[in-house]
């Protein structure tokens, strides 16, 4: 464990760590292509080195030549990404020599870079913009014609390339070589005519292709899904856990009051490393308002649908459930949090005295699949959590019992906690048909599904809150419990499974009395605003660049 001195501070680093790993905390690191913590401002802190081609999840390339540091005893500057720390090394990156070399390194990157900031999606989180503000802000001296390359190149079903913006850091090429192991990308031509591209007839078409958009430090690779939808400084972000499969990758969701726009991965050593899959990135679509149930719907004896508020709908259904006695069944998908399962299963077992709780397994055949990197075959984030709760309450059932019960009439009412990520539930239509045999169906669901209109008899459809709107715990395939907090609220009238369960059991919802009307803020920058408000100062904060 060698000890070295960085900018005057003594640091102990791991064996074999390079200087750049030592300066970035030997593990997690942050530049503008990784989202920053709320309230944190990027600055030329003494522990950070400007870099483009280094990424802690990829091999070292050493091609951007920006990460020079000064090592005492060496007349030449050395690159920090490829120099291993030795005992007693004295490293310095605040001297004028280093700043000059970084300024010229940036200058060389910019001489052929197109003036695309107005139309480039990366504006606001661009590596070049960030470094220019740090130690650029100079007038460019290049008076010659810039190199022209291909723009708006369709690399595949998810990614668009702009070769002029590309700084040839080769992160995307190394990603397809080392992480996704699909080797689709390469650098063609040589010199300043070099361009990223795919080989003949091959497209960038793998399940992790959008990670290349994340790691691209400039706007060369852009996601077709997010392209031009919103400027990044209008988006807020918060961490949560993806609900696509049982891997439980940590993600950061970007949103504003219009809805959610995109999802990016967050580094978690145990769960997903630096990456996430493409399927998980589409799941924000099920959360946005246009795809949700906003009001509860009720149909009596197959008649017309009428609408009401979710709470009222649940209370209405509660009356019917009470009259069913214990001929009530509960169908659960593995999509809800452990706390919600606790509450609703507890309600069922204690209030309705019914142990007819069934697990809706949408992928029994592919359950134990694993593609080698991240994607798991079980497309529910919390199956293990569900089983844990069911075991605790001593519930052991199988789906065939439900079908038998529906057939012979021993189950009159069914409460269904429907899925959130509809794309992984191809058996929805089938299950709707099966469950519509019951007399009363209370379907709790977050995203809209047209097939629910096929339910006959007495139906209540009650809108639920999606996974980003509640606090909770998911247990992933390896048994790791991950707690996450609410990101924001999209449909405020919707109920969580806990609230729905309480209302259906005939309880009133608990409203916690507010001890003080002024709720203390949790995030540091909100605290600042609060202090100023208390002092009667007006702090005006715009979206930051």
């Amino acid at each position: 464990m060698p000890k070295c001195t960085i900018n005057g501070k003594e640091v102990v680093v791991k064996d074999g760590a390079t200087i750049i790993e030592a300066m970035h905390g030997g593990g997690a690191y942050e530049t503008s292509d990784e989202p920053q913590k709320p309230g944190e401002k990027k600055q030329w802190a003494e522990g950070k080195v400007a870099h483009y081609c280094w990424h802690p999840g990829l091999s070292v390339a050493g091609v951007c030549r920006l990460c020079f540091v000064e090592i005492e005893g060496n007349p030449r500057l050395q690159i920090a990404c490829n120099t291993v720390v030795t005992e007693g090394m004295k490293i310095n990156n605040t001297s004028q020599k280093v700043k000059d070399s970084a300024k010229w390194g940036l200058d060389f990157h910019l001489i052929n870079h197109p003036l695309d900031c107005p139309i480039c999606d990366q504006a606001g989180e661009c590596g070049l913009q960030e470094q220019y503000m740090e130690f650029g802000k100079y007038n460019p001296e290049m008076a010659e014609k810039k190199v022209k390359k291909h723009k708006v190149v369709d690399l595949g079903p998810t990614v668009v390339l702009d070769s002029e913006r590309c700084i040839l850091c080769s992160r995307c090429v190394r990603f397809t070589e080392e992480v996704s192991k699909t080797n689709e990308l390469g650098i063609f031509n040589r010199g300043d005519r070099s361009e990223i591209g795919t080989f003949d007839d091959k497209k960038l078409d793998n399940k992790y292709s959008l990670n290349t958009v994340d790691i691209c430090p400039v706007g060369a690779l852009t996601s077709k899904d997010f392209r031009f939808r919103q400027r990044v400084w209008y988006l807020k972000d918060a961490e949560t856990v993806c609900n696509g499969c049982s891997a439980g990758c940590n993600v950061r969701a970007y949103f504003n009051k219009e809805g959610f726009f995109r999802v990016k991965p967050v580094y978690n050593e145990e769960v997903n490393g630096y990456w996430m899959c493409d399927e998980g990135r589409d799941l924000y679509k099920f959360v946005n308002r246009e795809n949700r149930y906003l009001k509860a719907r009720r149909r009596i004896s197959g008649g017309a649908w009428d609408e009401m508020l979710p709470g009222a709908g649940a209370k209405d259904a509660a009356g019917v459930l009470k009259s069913s006695g214990d001929a009530v069944a509960l169908v659960l998908t593995g999509q809800y949090t452990v706390e919600e399962y606790e509450s609703i299963v507890g309600n069922f077992v204690n209030e309705f005295k019914s142990k007819k709780i069934y697990h809706w397994n949408n992928n029994p055949k592919t359950e134990n699949d694993f593609d080698g990197l991240l994607i798991r075959g079980d497309k529910n984030p919390n199956t293990k959590g569900l089983f844990k709760v069911l075991e605790k309450h001593g519930v052991k059932t199988s789906w065939s019992e439900l079908e038998a019960g529906l057939g012979n009439g021993s189950i009159k009412s069914v409460v269904v906690a429907g899925p959130e990520n509809l794309q992984f539930f191809p058996d929805m239509a089938d299950k709707v048909k099966t469950l519509s045999k019951a007399q009363n169906v209370i379907w709790l669901q977050s995203p809209r599904f047209a097939g629910l209109d096929e339910l006959k008899n007495n139906v209540w459809i009650i809108p639920m809150k999606s996974y980003v709107e509640k606090d909770g715990t998911f247990i992933n395939h390896a048994g790791l419990e991950q707690k996450f907090k609410r990101v924001t609220t999209v449909v405020s009238e919707a109920l969580t499974l806990t609230e729905a369960g309480d209302l259906l059991a005939g309880h009133h919802l608990l409203i916690k009395p507010a001890l003080n009307t002024l709720v203390e803020a949790e995030r540091p920058e909100d605290r600042v605003m609060l202090e100023n408000r208390k002092k009667n100062e007006f702090v005006f904060r715009r979206g930051e660049l």
């Binding site: 030549r65 010229w104 990157h109 001489i111 010659e144 700084i167 040589r190 300043d192």
Partner: protein, 430 residues
């Protein structure tokens, strides 16, 4: 002093090319002697002789060989016959006229470094030398000088020719290793150095054609005899490729320390009638240029030229007389480096393009006075900041041309035409 014919004694004899002629004139005897020596003895002999790399860097060969790790990993010996440096054509002559000399040198060197496999990387444009060397290899295999158990000594050595595809950057040692591995010929980061981790991640020694051929006379006559030629720090002889505005351009072998002006006037036949010497580039286009006053004082060895601020390099002496426009010449050089940059690291990729564009805009009459300072600034900031030395090779000519011939540049910027030729770019190159 006149030419010494250590390496080039039989170049003009056609039969020297074939194995029978080569053996008749004393070839492969040294190999028999070397196979009886221990590998460490050969390395010591080469170290004692002070042989320096003849490809351009001038690194002591014996020292390079001793960097190899002492383990049982397979080693590779690579012969760098890429000869991309503009102005150099000495290796081509050796491969065309004395291929067996090279092969013998490689087998001896392979034995010295415990290598069982060697490659000769010849640039793709050398169609004729490739065919000559391949024929020579076949003859050597048939005669039992290559392959398993050479001449019954228990030493195995296999040699193959690998043709390049037209990239100057594949002459850089790690670029060549990448190209041999089948990847794009882009240099790798150093450390790790090729002697520790090179071709296929195994210890690799990369040497120039001339260096490997010079091993033969060293082992034949001993290190002391080799040191009799040349100077103390630069012993031995070297092949120089003389070109440019001289009467008799060609390859000349002289001992190191030979005066440069003698090379041009005596061996090269002097300038063309009515012309005076203006500048000389002594070591291939990457070496800083010398003006006429410096040429008078220079001797052809590593130390003297390094002291004068230039370098011996690959030994390509380009002679420039007063009819040549220096701005035009710089334009040609910059176009070369712009075309040949591999594009991996940013300062070289963008910088070579930028230098090329600025020089050409001066040549086309659109130059501004601050362009000359800009050229110096860009070249200064390209040096020393890249993976390989192509960036330095592009920057050094710019700095030296502007330092020594600034008046020609300023004239061109102010008047829009060449000081020497009187005409503008379009007329010089139509």
């Amino acid at each position: 002093m006149s030419e010494i014919k250590l390496l080039t004694e039989f170049y003009n004899k056609d039969e020297f090319r074939g194995i029978n002629g080569y053996q008749k004139m004393g070839g492969y005897e040294t190999l028999k002697k070397a196979l009886k020596m221990q590998p460490q003895q050969i390395i010591d002999e080469v170290k004692a002789s002070g042989l320096r790399g003849r490809g351009g860097a001038g690194f002591p060969t014996g020292t390079k060989w001793s960097f190899l790790p002492k383990n049982n990993e397979p080693r590779y010996l690579l012969c760098n016959a890429d000869e991309g440096e503009p102005g150099t054509f000495k290796d081509r002559m050796m491969m065309e006229r004395a291929p067996h000399q090279l092969i013998e040198g490689m087998i001896i060197s392979g034995h010295a470094i415990h290598s069982k496999k060697g490659y000769i990387y010849i640039r793709g444009e050398y169609f004729y030398p490739i065919s000559v060397v391949e024929k020579a290899l076949k003859e050597a295999y048939d005669a039992g000088f290559l392959g398993k158990n050479i001449l019954g000594s228990g030493v195995d050595f296999d040699l193959d020719v690998y043709a390049g595809a037209g990239a100057y950057i594949c002459g850089e040692e790690t670029g060549m290793i990448s190209s041999l591995e089948g990847l794009k010929g882009q240099p790798k980061l150093k450390p790790p150095f090729p002697a520790v981790q090179g071709y296929l991640r195994k210890p690799t020694i990369v040497n120039n054609v001339e260096t490997l051929a010079a091993v033969v006379p060293i082992i034949k006559d001993g290190a002391a005899a080799y040191k009799k030629f040349g100077t103390e720090k630069s012993p031995g002889t070297k092949l120089f490729s003389l070109s440019g505005n001289v009467m008799r351009p060609g390859n000349y072998e002289v001992p190191l320390g030979y005066p440069l002006k003698d090379m041009i006037n005596v061996l090269g036949g002097g300038m063309k009638p009515g012309r005076t010497l203006k500048a000389v580039i002594p070591g291939g286009s990457s070496a800083p240029v010398m003006n006429a006053a410096e040429v008078e004082k220079a001797t052809l060895d590593y130390e003297c030229l390094a002291q004068m601020g230039t370098m011996l390099g690959s030994g390509a002496i380009i002679v420039i007389d007063d009819s040549q426009c220096m701005v035009d010449m710089l334009g040609v050089l910059m176009h070369f480096y712009h075309h040949e940059s591999c594009g991996q690291c940013t300062p070289c990729r963008e910088g070579t393009g930028w230098l090329d564009k600025i020089v050409h805009s001066i040549l086309e009459g659109r130059g501004r006075l601050q362009d000359i300072d800009l050229l110096e600034k860009v070249a200064d900031n390209m040096k020393g900041r890249t993976i390989c030395a192509l960036s330095d090779a592009a920057a050094l000519p710019v700095l030296s041309f502007i330092a020594k011939f600034r008046d020609e540049f300023e004239f061109y910027v102010r008047e829009g035409r060449s000081k020497v030729k009187g005409t503008a770019y379009a007329e010089m190159h139509h």
